[in-house]
Subunit: 222 residues, 2 copies
DNA sequence: ACAACAATGTAGACTATGACAACAAAGATG
DNA sequence: CATCTTTGTTGTCATAGTCTACATTGTTGT
């Protein structure tokens, strides 16, 4: 079902050259920044209908481009999903950063702010977060994705180091301490997106998680 | 591509009645317990190639049944996935139970055993665990699935209550305390399946997580 | 025994998708 | 302005999910 009747060399269509402009909005042959447009539309669909519903062909249609076009920017469907996940980690990193900065200088408020921001992200973009942590038990985790994830984790690391400098947290490898915190928060997000905890239990759970982490970090090492 | 050339009323085949047995293994028209067979094969494929690769038609082929047959047992693909997730939660619950029982009577060893068992499950059945926590941000979480999940969580709850009776944990709603523990462990599993932590970091991380939980539970409430 | 009836499988059709290849159009480059 | 590269387009193929009509078997009530 060609949208416009295949203009071959023999049948140059209605010679929609530089003048015929009445019939169609006359989209240019080249989209301009198709890749970005696809990613944006994909993010919308992802949020509204989940990853399973994401179809390259449908995206192409929605963006107003032929079904083969996306292939120039994403080798296959998985490549698109990876790009989405990467963008997700970058956005998450930014949101964690701004949350931390917006919470003042002190360690504890910053910690709470980061945890809240993380969970807020999970609430608003559940499907995206799922995608970001979808291991796919895939052998090849693309480098760029891993890097973006590390960067988001880096925000937490910096916070841990601040906590240690201020004496609120015990010393020790920041990565190791950070992973425990990261796991707790991501676990809460996981319980949320899976529907095992309701949204109205969230604040309490986040507060509890942070409180446990802080309390443990102040106790003598066992 | 019919495996056996469509025996219609006009062409009753070679009248493969009760005697003709030389040509084919002669599968009975009714499989007997197709549902189970499908689930088992699905679990294998899930473990080896992930959920994305799961195809009803391929399952049907592998089990030796026509492509429409699965429909009698699973309304659609999602129903199969839900059944897999449910079975997963049931199996997880069992494994947590046996781990706890096998660890003696004391609270702390039991806690460690449960955490280890959980993470072992995540290691062996990463794709399945992903499926179990795939929120699908679906409005309708099937009741049976939710029930199975609650049951698995119940094993943790019982442990929490034991800890409280023995004074190892503070008092408080067990559900609330349990969620923090659950989140931490599931978060670790999440980091694992997503590839953000390597398998050789696991033991340490689990030990840390449990230690944090225990230490926090013994400190004065903040 | 046997005649409905329900449960389970089969076969075919339809649409959609992802992936690929051959071709067309526009930009970039010298 | 000729050539090369990038980006889109169109057509094709295999496969999947889903639905419908039909076949076979098991079950049940009489």
């Amino acid at each position: 079902m060609p949208v416009r009747a295949a203009p071959t060399a023999e049948h140059p269509g209605e010679s929609e050259g530089k003048n015929a402009r009445a019939t169609t909005p006359e989209r240019p042959y080249h989209h301009g920044n198709l890749r970005t447009a696809l990613l944006e539309q994909a993010e919308r669909t992802l949020r509204e209908r989940g990853a399973q519903e994401l179809s390259l062909r449908e995206l192409a249609r929605e963006v107003g481009v032929s079904h083969g076009a996306p292939r120039r920017h994403f080798a296959d469907r998985q490549a698109l999903l990876d790009a989405l996940a990467q963008a997700g980690f970058e956005r998450l990193g930014e949101q964690l950063s701004t949350a931390a900065e917006g919470a003042g200088e002190d360690f504890e408020p910053r910690l709470r702010a980061i945890a809240s921001a993380y969970v807020r992200f999970a609430t608003r973009d559940a499907a995206l977060l799922e995608l970001m942590f979808a291991g796919k038990h895939r052998e090849q985790v693309p480098g760029a994705l891993h890097e973006a994830a590390e960067h988001a984790f880096g925000v937490m690391l910096a916070l841990i180091e601040q906590g240690q400098r201020e004496g609120a947290l015990q010393d020790g490898e920041p990565e190791r301490v950070g992973l425990v915190l990261f796991a707790t928060i991501q676990g809460i997000a996981s319980l949320l997106t899976s529907g095992l905890v309701r949204e109205d239990q969230l604040d309490e759970l986040v507060a509890d998680g942070v409180a446990y982490f802080l309390r443990a970090s102040r106790s003598p090492t066992g």
